[in-house]
Structure formats: structure tokens, C-alpha cells
Amino acid sequence: MRYVAPTSVDEARSLLVDNPGSRVFAGATDLIPQIRAGRPQPSVMVDLKRIDRLTSVSHRDGGWAIGAATPTAALTANPEFATMFPGLSEASGLIGSDQIQNRSSWGGNVANASPAADSVPALVANDAQVVIASAGGTRTAAVDEIITGPGQTSLGDGEFIIEFTLADMAAGTSDAYLRIIPRTEMDIAVVGAGVRLTMDGPTVAAAKIVLGAVAPTAIRVGEAEAALVGNTLDEATLAEAAEAASAACNPINDKRGTIEYRRQVAGVLTKRCLLIAADRAQNGTA
């Protein structure tokens, strides 16, 4: 196993093409534990962190470009970002612990394609797009188009994510993310819920609800979104959204939680997220 740290996208691209069995990595907080657990060793470990664009964060022209290898600690510590996307920032800040967050990246969280990845529901709720380096050049895709199943992505051989793009949060809009874990940190989401709401006074003008860890991939809950739009967040509406969220789940029984538990709590987190996001959308996030 060889370690290489290219300094440009082109250099990384040709390393991947020239070396079958090579793998990119950012924080390696997924990759190294997986290798230790017996997954095949890459021929070449391609470190993306020396490529400027992959660790830079820029905000201009009504949108954000966030390098795919940027440590999540750099995002949660960026006040402009954290204020505009409080839910996405919180989701990123839940990954592991301080030590993990000094290394963990969105690129790794998305490409690892764990159904429980914390940044994913919040990224999808915020319509995050990715710019992908391909053999021929670059292409773009939405985050939910990248993840196709547990550990499965639509990224082709030699492709890697360069950056994430996000449009500025519009007025009257905000987001929230909550997860349930048995402990308070260093744990994997049993259920995660990401929500983005646009409020028109007390009325929901637009809603996106995305659940994690309750299906093979993060799922969008269209029924719950439909139940909200045009309504105020009264108890009946919240209950309807929660019920729709529970119904949308397609979870498994495993050591981290049962099917029944995940279903029930998905509704609870959805409801709680809606209230937080609505409050932020109406009253600002500070």
C-alpha cells in the first residue's frame, strides 16, 4: 500500500486512472477502520487534503462551494456558514467527536454511503449538489443521486467528489437536524431527521423532510411534506407529518435498534425538527 498526496485535481485523477485498486480519502475515519476490519487494502491511498480546492470554503454570488475534503470542524467553526445552515452545521458537528471532526469530511460521509451518515439528510434537505471529477472532466449531481444503497454509490471508477455547492438559504427559510443515539456522542444514528422549511408567517410555504438510518439510503418523505404545505404547524398537522414519516420508514432490526423503535422515533424526530426549523425560519437562527 502506497500513500500519495496530489496537489491538483488533475494529478489525483491520473493517479486513480493509472493505479487500479487505488482509493481516495480525506479524513480516513471510515477508510482506516474498514481496512483494519479486514476490507481489502487499496493499492494506493490518494490523500485529497493537499488539493486546495478540496479543502476550501467559499461564499459568493448567492451560493457556497465547499471542498469535499474540508474537515467538518472547519464548517461548524465557520460562523457565517453555521448561522445560515444551522441544521446542516449541527448534523456535521454530530459526527463522532472533536477528534473525528478534525478529520471527517462531507465527501467521505457521502461516499461511504452509510444509511446512518449524519450529514446526508441535512445535505439532501438543503438540495446540496456535488461537483465530481471524472475521467473526462467534471460532472454535477445531487447528493441523493450519489448514494444508491448501503456502501453503494453512483460514482464511477476513478471518479471523486471535488466540492459541494449550496444555494444561500432564502429568506423565511431554515433547517434543522436531530438524531437519536443511546449515548450523547461517539455513536451511530439509530434515526436521523433533516428538515428544511420555508415559512410564510405561521404557514408552511415549502418543506423538505429527509430521514436517515431508517432505510437503505436516506429517504425523502413526500407525504409528510405534502401534509405540511399550506398549513400551520398545529398539533394535527404535526401528528400527520410524524405519522407519514413513520410510515415511510423501511428499517431493519439490528444491534442499534428495532424496526418498531426506528419507525416510532422517526415520527418524533420529524415533529421536533419541524418545530425547530419553523422557529428558526420565523425568528432567525441566533
Partner: protein
């Protein structure tokens, strides 16, 4: 050696100096077993069973032996058959399977190679052919009629047994007439409780380096709670005399009972003997979870009778402990741990039950937490039903000196009542329960043990001193040894160097277990110091030309009336002229280990929509007899509390259908993380143990006994649900809430 109820004020005992090993620990210089590397050393890797129960048909190591870097391979055939009657037989078979594997992860072979990677490659090339046998994993399945036999060498102890069985021990204890008492009781509460297997979770995996020389003698460096036991077990498994094995204790990164037995040392010794090079074994975390002793799972049925005014009149309990594939006395010890309340009528039936799981090992007050979870939950339910304050109910029934335990042993002077009173008077208990939360109370008992200890104390030529014991220091005991020596000799504690010596440099000393070290090894240190003082008094008497009877020892000096005091330093400086070096050793078998009681108080809130519990405030009160170093006593109280809360809330062995462990990592075996818990508040109660010169009672274990019921009792009061199964994890709590 007596202590008074109103102890004199001590100069050193009860102070909080920085521990002698502290600087090395915080600067990363302390040497743990895995830190040691010897020239030419090999690394060894295991082959482990992929079946929970199987006959080994054949093992082919030829391909592995031919691989690059491989220097030795061992299987069960390389170890003697001790015969099932040998006390170390189970250990020897657990260390390396012979013709049968008894649990998933049981060691089958090991390879020593020039690197860990090469050893792992070679281990993967060993071909083992198995014939699967039926396996059982639960108490119910193992006790069922016609259950497959777990281990054909197990015969039930304490009863006449002609046939092998899945029961390792059966214990029946009875006093009074429980049936009459239940009939006469105003209130009877009966419930069944279960607890999951839990691991001690020590942060340092088992590790050793062994160098077997051309003379056939093995030098062992390892992490253990008792290097003399490592010596005897290693020698036994190899069929050697103990004199062929020298064990040097490394610093130990936690044990909690789990390092009172051995797993790897004989394997490394044999590989080293075969290869002629030192061999190092460091278990992975995965191996620690799969193949070292957890504490047993359990099932306990409890029935308690009470009068309307809260007198507990009868206890009947049926207790079963799932001890894994080799017998042990968990059931007996569980029955012995029933000792907190007077219960004039009592009937206990306790079992140690075998299953095809790893051999269970000691874990802080082994077997007591399971029993206390059940009994303290039912006692609390009685307090709720009778609307009596839970502390008052316990005070009314608490055992005092002279009351007998379930075993029929009268309690010596104990501090249970004092612990209850301490919690009742505490700021915590006196303050209102936070909004949306509830408060739980529970008690715990552990008997503690004495056993054999040795100590050697040298007064150095400049008047400093060295205190040498054979007790691995797992909770700050070196500091406590130094404090007791400082008190005796009248020296500054920082002039004393406390050490833990290897098996050839100090007298035999039993394992650090049963909360015995500060008690028993402390006694040996005190005895050695007193012998030294006698020697120094007599030398001073000679120098001063007075009778030794006229010389007393005070403030670090020999004092005779009419003479200037002769300080220790000048006696030390003169020692060459007065009879040679000043040194004394003491060895003893300590009797009179005083039991330690604890009472815990916890406030918690339940998120009724998710089943998540949050501990808001937690206080642990415990009788330390005398706290030699209060900080380390507090550390024990806090550590026990935290481990017990983890056991209560989230820790559990999750098994796959084939008996393999599904959560063999700290990610999914959920011990508490720091942010889960508030600071654990402590109250040290001091009811001196009359059998110890400073009144010490061991404090290392009792702290883990009350938390499960403390949490369950708080959940009951918070949410109206009586949790009877551990862990009380969010899914289980939510299910109970849904069923409410």
C-alpha cells in the same frame, strides 16, 4: 492491630498527595505491557473458533509453518492434558482448545512470526476441520430438559453428581419459614429480572511479552491484577514448576476483575520456547470482547413480603447466572451477596449455568449487582406501594452488627445505616427533585476479602524509604501504601518510593481482587514498618545507652526521656555501625476484611417519546472504614457508579444466532462517554474496620452494585414503568412506555 471508633488525627493518612506513578501516567512514560519490545521479538496471532460448539477433527498447520517469517505454531497438542480434576484444567483448556471448541472465538492455534502481519497471514493459512455440535446460549435453554451438554467435563459442585451437567453449582440457603411469612405478610411483591452479559471494558487489551530462555525458564512481562497468579497458572498450563516462570508486572490499564485470570501467557511462553525468541501477544479489542470473560448474564426471581409499616419479613429468590462454557461459582457468590436486610425468613436457590459462551470472569463485586438489581427494585416497589420514604424503609430493615447474611455469617461492625443516613442528610437528597425528573435510591453490599500479602520496606541510607509490595496497582494503591508507611515511620510521603516488584523480588502476594489491596497489603506494609521501627528503637537505645523499653517512636524519631530525639535520618546514616541495613519484610494472611456498604441516589429524566434517559445528578455514598487517600476512594466510588450506570442503561452482549458476538467494539458495546453523565458526587462514610490498623475497608467493588436499581427505581418513579430487564436502553424503555 486495632482502630478506634474515634480515630486519632493522622498526619498522612487521609491526605491527598499526587500519586507516585502520576507523572509517568500523564506524560505518557508509564510502561504498559504492549509498550515493551525485546530484541528479536516475534508477534503472535491466534486462530479462533468460528463455531460455538464443535469437535476439532483436524488441524493442518503445514502451510502456515512454511510461510515467510513464521517461527513457531502451537495448537492444543502442544500443551499437557492436566486432567479434568486439576484446578487449572478449565484455564488450560480455555487458553487453547484441545479436541473441542466450547464457544465462538475459543483459541484453536497461534502463530509466531517476525511481524504481526506475517503471523496473521500464516494464521489464515491454518486449516481446521470441525464437526459442529449443538450449542446453547441462554439460561433457559441450558437448563431445559434434554438440553445439549455444554461441557462434558463439568460436574455440578456442592451436590452429589454422577453425570456431567450444565449446572456448575447449586446453592440452597434457608432460614425461618418463608411460606408462613408470605401468608402473614400485608404485601407481597414478586418479579422476575434479567440482565445481559456485560464486559469489564478495561481500556487496555490483554498483552504480554514472554522470553523463554535456553535454560527453560520463562520471563513474562504482562498486564494483570495478580502476577503471582499469572505465574502459577502459566506454570500449570505448561506443566512446569512455578520456579521456571518469573512474572514482572507492567502498569495496568484497567482490569475490574477481568485480569484476575490468564489467557495468553502460556501460549507466548510455549511459542517462545519453540522459536527461541521472545514472543509478544497483544489482543485486539475484538478478541478481548469475544474471548475474555464478560460478567454473566442472569435471571433472578425475587419475592419479598412486608408488613404495612414497612418491615420486610421474607425474601425468596431464585437466581441463575450464565457463566459461559466453564464452571464457576457465580451462583454461590450471588447468594452470598444477599446481606443488606435483616429478612427473618429467607430462602435462596442459586445456580451457575453453563452455556457456549466465553468463560465469564470476575467484574467488580462479581454476582452481587445482578442480585441487588432484583432485590433493591422489589424493595423500592414496596416502599412505593406502602408510600414510605425509600431511605426510611431501608433504615428500618438495614442489617447491623450481629445480623446474619444469607450465608448465616454475622456481620461485624458495618456502616450500612451510616451510609443511608449520610444520603438522607445530603444536600442532594434534601434538595427538591428537578422538574420533569425523579429520584431513585438503592443500596449495595460487598463482603471484601483478605488473603495473602507481603511487603518489604527499606529505610535508605539518607533516611528516605522504599516500600515494595506484590500487589499490582490498579486504583492508586501505591499512593496508599506510601501514605500508611509515612504515617508509621513519620516520614514525608514524598520521601517514600512505593513499588510493585516481580515474583522473585517480593514475597508471595495474592491477586489484586476482592478490594483487598489497601486492606491486606496495607496491613503487611504497616507490619513491616512497625518491625523496622522496633529495630530503629533498639539501635537508638543502644546508641543512647538506655533500655529499648524506654524508647518510643514519635514524629519520625526515636525518643527517650532526657535525650534529644534521634531522627530516622540519623539512625539511617549510622546503620552501618549499628547492625547493617535497615530493612524489614512482613507476610500475612489477612483476616477481618470489613464489608463495605454503599447507598446511591440518582435523579433522572425520561424522554417519554424516545425512551432516552438522562441522568441529571448522582451521588454515591460508601463506607471506606478510613479513607487512606480520599481522592482514590472517590475515584473508586465514581468508577463503580459509572460502570454500573453503563450496565444499567446500554451495555450488553448482542449475540448472533450462531452465538458469535455482534457488537465486539466500543462503538456498539456502549460504555458511557463523559458527556453522558454528570459529575458523580461522592460521600465517604468512615466506620472504621476494627480489624485493620487504620480501619480500612476495601472500596473498589461495592460501587457497582447499587446503580442498576438506582436507575430502575428512578425510571419507575419518573414514568410509572418498572423495568425488569437490563439494559434499560431507549428501545426497551420505549416499549415499556408503549405498554404502560
Amino acid at each position: 492491630m486495632t482502630a478506634t471508633e474515634n480515630p486519632p488525627t493522622y498526619t498522612w493518612v487521609g491526605t491527598r498527595p499526587i500519586r507516585h506513578d502520576g507523572y509517568d501516567k500523564v506524560t505518557g512514560k508509564a510502561r504498559f505491557a504492549a509498550d515493551l519490545d525485546l530484541p528479536g521479538q516475534l508477534r503472535a496471532v491466534y486462530v479462533r473458533s468460528p463455531h460455538a460448539h464443535a469437535r476439532i477433527v483436524s488441524i493442518n498447520t503445514a502451510a502456515a509453518e512454511a510461510m515467510p517469517g513464521v517461527k513457531a505454531v502451537v495448537t492444543g497438542a502442544d500443551f499437557p492434558d492436566l486432567g479434568a480434576a486439576d484446578p487449572e484444567y478449565d484455564v488450560s483448556v480455555n487458553v487453547m482448545a484441545r479436541d473441542t471448541v466450547y464457544y465462538h472465538g475459543h483459541a484453536v492455534a497461534a502463530v509466531a512470526a517476525t511481524s504481526r502481519e506475517l503471523a496473521a497471514d500464516a494464521a489464515a493459512a491454518i486449516v481446521v476441520e470441525y464437526e459442529e455440535l449443538p450449542a446453547v446460549f441462554t439460561i433457559d435453554d441450558a437448563m431445559a430438559d434434554g438440553a445439549p451438554l455444554v461441557n462434558e467435563t463439568n460436574f455440578t459442585k456442592f451436590v452429589k453428581a454422577d453425570e456431567p451437567s450444565n449446572l456448575s453449582t447449586i446453592t440452597n440457603l434457608e432460614r425461618g419459614e418463608v411460606d408462613d411469612a408470605f401468608a402473614a405478610a400485608d404485601l407481597v411483591v414478586e418479579r422476575e429480572f434479567t440482565t445481559a452479559a456485560v464486559h469489564q471494558g478495561y481500556i487496555e487489551p490483554h498483552a504480554c511479552v514472554v522470553d523463554t530462555g535456553a535454560d527453560g525458564r520463562a520471563s513474562v512481562w504482562c498486564s494483570s491484577q495478580g502476577h503471582f497468579r499469572v505465574r502459577s497458572s502459566t506454570a500449570a498450563v505448561l506443566g512446569w514448576d512455578v520456579s521456571r516462570v518469573k512474572v514482572t508486572p507492567a502498569e495496568i490499564g484497567g482490569g475490574f476483575g477481568g485480569k484476575t485470570t490468564i489467557y495468553i501467557e502460556p501460549v507466548a511462553a510455549r511459542l517462545s520456547e519453540m522459536a527461541g525468541r521472545p514472543v509478544k501477544i497483544v489482543m485486539t479489542r475484538d478478541e478481548v470482547f469475544r474471548a475474555t470473560g464478560p460478567a454473566p448474564a442472569s435471571k433472578v426471581r425475587v419475592k419479598v413480603g412486608a408488613t404495612n409499616d414497612g418491615e420486610l419479613t421474607a425474601l425468596e429468590a431464585w437466581m441463575a447466572y450464565n457463566v459461559g462454557a466453564f464452571g464457576n461459582v457465580a451462583g454461590l457468590v450471588g447468594a452470598m451477596s444477599v446481606a443488606s436486610y435483616k429478612f427473618p425468613n429467607l430462602k435462596l436457590e442459586a445456580y451457575s449455568v453453563l452455556s457456549n459462551l466465553p468463560k465469564s470472569a470476575a467484574y467488580r463485586s462479581p454476582s452481587a449487582p445482578h442480585a441487588a438489581f432484583a432485590i433493591e427494585s422489589v424493595v423500592d416497589e414496596i416502599a412505593q406501594k406502602l408510600d414510605i420514604d425509600p431511605i426510611e424503609l431501608r433504615l428500618k430493615n438495614a442489617a447491623v452488627e450481629g445480623d446474619v447474611t444469607a450465608m448465616g455469617m454475622p456481620h461485624p461492625r458495618i456502616g450500612f445505616v451510616e451510609c443511608l443516613e449520610a444520603v438522607r442528610e445530603s444536600e442532594h437528597y434534601q434538595s427538591p427533585v428537578p422538574d420533569g425528573a425523579a429520584r431513585g435510591i438503592a443500596a449495595g453490599f460487598w463482603f471484601n476479602i483478605g488473603e495473602q500479602s507481603s511487603a518489604t520496606v527499606h529505610v535508605n541510607e539518607d533516611g528516605t524509604a522504599t516500600v515494595i509490595t506484590g500487589s499490582p496497582d490498579i486504583g492508586g494503591s501505591r499512593a496508599s501504601m506510601a501514605l500508611m508507611a509515612a504515617e508509621e515511620l513519620g516520614l514525608d510521603v514524598n520521601s517514600i518510593t512505593p513499588l510493585v516488584a516481580d515474583t522473585e523480588s517480593v514475597g508471595f502476594t495474592d491477586t489484586t481482587e476482592g478490594s483487598r489491596t489497601t486492606f491486606a497489603t496495607g496491613m503487611a506494609v504497616v507490619q513491616a514498618c512497625r518491625d523496622l521501627i522496633d529495630d530503629m528503637r533498639s539501635r537508638a537505645a543502644t546508641t543512647l545507652s538506655v533500655d529499648v523499653g524506654e524508647v518510643i517512636w514519635a514524629d519520625g524519631a526515636a525518643v527517650a526521656e532526657g535525650h534529644d530525639p534521634v531522627p530516622l535520618a540519623s539512625i539511617a546514616a549510622q546503620s552501618k555501625r549499628t547492625g547493617g541495613p535497615l530493612t524489614a519484610s512482613a507476610s500475612l494472611n489477612a483476616a477481618g476484611a470489613g464489608p463495605s456498604f454503599a447507598v446511591h441516589c440518582g435523579d433522572l429524566a425520561v424522554d417519554e417519546e424516545t425512551g432516552h434517559t438522562k441522568v441529571l445528578r448522582y451521588t454515591a455514598a460508601q463506607d471506606a472504614g478510613t479513607a487512606i487517600h480520599p481522592s482514590y476512594v472517590e475515584g473508586q466510588l465514581q468508577g463503580g457508579s459509572v460502570q454500573g450506570i453503563g450496565w444499567a442503561l446500554n451495555e450488553e452482549y448482542v449475540l448472533n444466532d450462531d452465538g458469535s458476538l455482534d457488537n465486539a467494539s466500543f462503538l456498539d458495546y456502549r460504555i458511557p462517554v463523559a458527556s453522558d453523565l454528570p459529575m458523580i458526587e461522592t460521600i465517604i462514610v468512615e466506620v472504621p474496620n476494627p480489624s485493620h490498623p487504620y480501619g480500612v475497608r476495601g472500596v473498589g467493588e461495592t460501587g457497582i452494585v447499587p446503580p442498576m436499581a438506582t436507575i430502575a427505581n428512578a425510571i419507575s418513579r419518573a414514568a410509572g414503568i418498572r423495568m425488569t430487564a437490563l439494559p434499560m436502553s431507549p428501545p426497551h424503555v420505549l416499549t415499556a412506555l408503549n405498554e404502560r
